[in-house]
Symmetry: D2
Subunit: 342 residues, 4 copies
């Protein structure tokens, strides 16, 4: 059986990545693609790399007939997404890739995103989309909230350690390096090639990045007490990839064993042999996450490093993984593409 | 039916690209992988991006039992390849990715490659592997010689124009820009990141690059007279991709029509609307070739620009396309992966 | 004696490059810097790499008192520049970096730039700023029009060949590769890092790029007849650098000799030994232009390759070189900085 | 007065960077350049970007007459350097850029570098070359040991905090990102463009990088007790630049004030306004170091970020700064070049 799929916000990078992945999915068919300023264009004009596919033209959301759609991906900007989803058919299965439905507590949402939520009913029913940890709820969900790409990376490194009581909860540092595409296709001076290539810098220093809200929510839930991490993102001169270097206090061997154990049956989470570490270029274009662990020369400290592709496992690949579950398909369908290296 | 595949020279980039593509091929299984200095290593050590696959370890060629192999890809260095292939079972189907069997005339081989050919019998039976133009011979071939990646790009732009008598045969210029991976994984100072990034330069200027031998052979055959093109390759600070800018004398509209016509049914060759031009980043990681045509302000001149990924359509993708034909599989099997952008 | 300098349009890349160069100039002092949307900002906010310098804040042009200014660089957008320069004091020495005063014929200007010129008096007095060929006029000029960066590169390769009658004037092809910074700091989707890195493409194909107007003007003047070249620019995934590969019909050795002879005393134009070719990374950040010549395997054809840094020798370095002449300073003052490699 | 300079190991990146800087130094003249495998070549062959300079050819060290040399830079590989310097004239002023003379304790040297030191007398007289903190000793020194580039970056961020007793000495984490050129021009697979571009990874994880020995030596000396930091270097896909993100426990405002105070008169160390952070691209090609400080949302924690160019302030620029002091020149001579951006 082939499922009819709509993608809202198809003129951005996560929208295009969804199309790329669905292109070789065995049981999905793209029935509608929406865009805002590019409505009316063929998809091949917005994204010439998808030229070989037989795709519907970009239209406005209003032009889409949702009655024949089995599942809708929303790859819209934050805030826009909640306004749109509120008005979509209440029975439509939705995977949202924005930040709008990630936080369960409306007050936390208001605090981090600077305003009241406009779709509280939908927020209440949304399931957090970190597939490996919310699999069963996702299977039965109507609305799944894709995680932040940085938030996913940090959680893959840390959840089993927190759950296992293996680390000091008051001293967790996530130093994260991310590729450029995570910032989207927006016209900002600091995203120009000449501004970004050939160097690196930190941003959101000091605990201001919004993905912290997800860390707080998830880690505190697991630990049963408040957990606040330090998190500093840096921008890399590369298009894809997140590398999270996580500093914790705990026994490195135990940490490695806990990750090995937790992810033993996970198709996409690969724990490297102890002392080996991942590279973003070895997961590029794929849904895999590689994780490494080392001890430090200072006893009782460990470093956990996780790498994934922000556009795939960090957003659109994760979204497709969730959609597979929601539609009763094999979880890995369309997602076993090998990384592209070099 | 699943075919058992061997890849000789699997520790280089074209070898790894074959593994990447075969990973999602519906009817191929990798049975053996060889390497020279890395023999004994797991493939995941040589190429960590392939870690998720269940692959045989790298072994020497001597350790491979070819009796159960249905088809062997040779991704060995030039000259090495002919010595190895000469001694492989005479009934084994082989797709060679080196330069060793591309030239039909042994004297031309000796002239361009600086020495006598060591496997003249095999050279005599080899079929030139430009799939779209040698499809029927490839289907029945035992040994197929993969084309040069630059040679493929230039031919896709030019063959229908020469065949159609549409251009001046004495005034063809191919100004080509190629990514770094085409030079392989060899340890040369001029391939270091610090030497190559952030700039561009020409090499092999003045008609010395060996892919000229393929242009000479093929274009002269088509034209029924000697055709000699000018060809200047340049190195781009990018890993993948070839962009060939071809300057010809002829009517641009006729040229565009001839390409549209010639490639109308080709799944991988995409001719853009007149006046539009391709980018290497829009074919990256895929088996597609995009081709554009414009006229010039000077009447009677035209520019044809072709883009492909040197590791995919330029070598390993082409090799797999040929292998599909040789094994009676669908030509496009395993090759419809969409390009990875950004 | 120290000259007081104003830079209009200092928030763009050519403006910043002027500041960088003047920072170590022995006899210039920056007295005023203008910007449009960034007026009011310290220069260190617009360009943090200039933080160590004691610079005036960015102001609007109206706020500048030109009475104490010895020379003014205009690094404003095309069309804006002519409107501004028309109203500047008529005795103020000006080096303009825009396209507005490059063409001597107002009709040609109107044809290529799509509208009538707004400052015909100034256009009439402007001297074309290709220093090595207009040195004496520049010395006495009040208003010098900086050349196009692509136009400069092509002319360095071709002027002595045309002047010497060494090449076929009806068959000149300039295949040019340029870095990203030439497109300026403007917010355009196709200048984003994610859109530009890791690939290459052509633009302005077929004789539409405006720098052709300069080639036409200059080459026709030298030859004493109409000369029209073919010119195809390509965008490189690098910030700085232009590489022009020029295909001509003529004797390569004679061409090399003519270039050696013409540039023997030029401090910035370096002709390489016959058969050697330049790389953009070897002129990066400097005012040097490297030029190489080879013959082709086809007799009577030659390839000339020129490399320079578009922001330095292609615009701001050239502008400073001209300003030095206009102010009676040593032509090379502030410009002998070695290229930055790697 | 002009000083005669020799550079040993001039075919590597730090050697070339010394030549680049000395090219515009007002009172230095390069009298001799040595290389090993490239001895006999003109410098312009090893480094075409230096083509415009009138430089001596590369020779072996044995061929150099040191009697006329005022100061010698040694840019040789570790271990080689000590063997060479042991045999140089005992009165020759030397700035060594290798790791050989950085550690004062021979046992520490043996422990980190895996063998006994071969020039203990010279080691005993060597002064540690972190100019801003050893200025007076360097002025009178005969042999100065250039610091590690990573070690310099971390120390600029941390020394005043340790000296001022402002941070918890048992909980210091340096997460460092470095460009490729720091690894030198050696032929290693993991330094190829295709292996390094478009991604990032950590190396030397867990306290094994040799620059830790310098941190230990210096920080323990300042603190008057053993101080051991955590230090994880990462490789960036960029040629130049180090960004050190330093996590400490202390009051951010006090830390910022201490750095402002300590570096108030330093020409090359620029402390940014509180809450602003540096980028490697804004110090590229220059001798400046930019430092930023922020507090964290967790009280009592601070993040200090330092950026410099590993080839300039991290090695060759520092070396020249030291040489200026040793020769009685202005400390900043030849070093006020502005960063090259973009």
């Amino acid at each position: 059986m082939t499922h009819s799929i709509a993608i809202l916000g198809a003129s951005g990078y996560t929208g295009a990545e969804l199309v790329r992945l669905i292109a070789t999915h065995p049981s999905m068919r793209i029935a509608a693609l929406s865009a805002h300023s590019k409505a009316g264009q063929p998809m091949a004009q917005a994204f010439p790399h998808l030229r070989h596919l037989d795709l519907p033209d970009l239209v406005t959301i209003e032009e889409i007939d949702f009655s024949g759609i089995d599942l809708c991906f929303c790859a819209l900007p934050h805030a826009t997404s909640q306004a749109v989803i509120r008005d979509l058919p209440k029975t439509l299965k939705i995977v949202d890739l924005s930040a709008d439905f990630r936080l369960r507590d409306p007050e936390e949402y208001a605090r981090w995103y600077g305003g009241a939520h406009a779709a509280l009913d939908q927020q209440a029913e949304a399931v957090y989309g970190l597939t490996e940890f919310y699999r069963e709820q996702i299977r039965g969900a109507r609305l799944v909230a894709g995680t932040g790409c940085n938030a996913a990376t940090g959680q893959f490194a840390l959840r089993p350690l927190i759950a296992g009581g293996l680390i000091d909860l008051d001293d967790i540092i996530i130093d994260l390096k991310t590729g450029v595409s995570g910032a989207g296709r927006s016209l900002r001076e600091n995203l120009l090639h000449a501004e970004l290539s050939e160097g690196a810098h930190a941003y959101g220093v000091g605990g201001t990045h919004r993905h912290l809200a997800e860390f707080d929510q998830e880690f505190s839930t697991i630990a049963g007490r408040e957990v606040k991490v330090q998190f500093t993102p840096h921008l890399l001169p590369a298009n894809r990839g997140i590398l999270a270097t996580v500093y914790v206090k705990g026994e490195a061997k135990d940490i490695h064993a806990a990750l090995m154990d937790a992810y033993a049956d996970e198709p996409f989470l690969q724990v490297l042999p102890f002392g080996q570490h991942p590279s973003t270029r070895h997961v590029r274009g794929s849904n895999f996450c590689h994780i490494g662990v080392s001890g430090d020369r200072i006893e009782g400290r460990a470093i956990v490093i996780a790498a994934l592709d922000n556009l795939t496992k960090g957003s659109s690949g994760q979204a497709l993984q969730n959609a597979n579950l929601m539609l009763g398909e094999e979880e890995t369908a369309g997602l076993m593409l090998a990384p592209v290296f070099p």
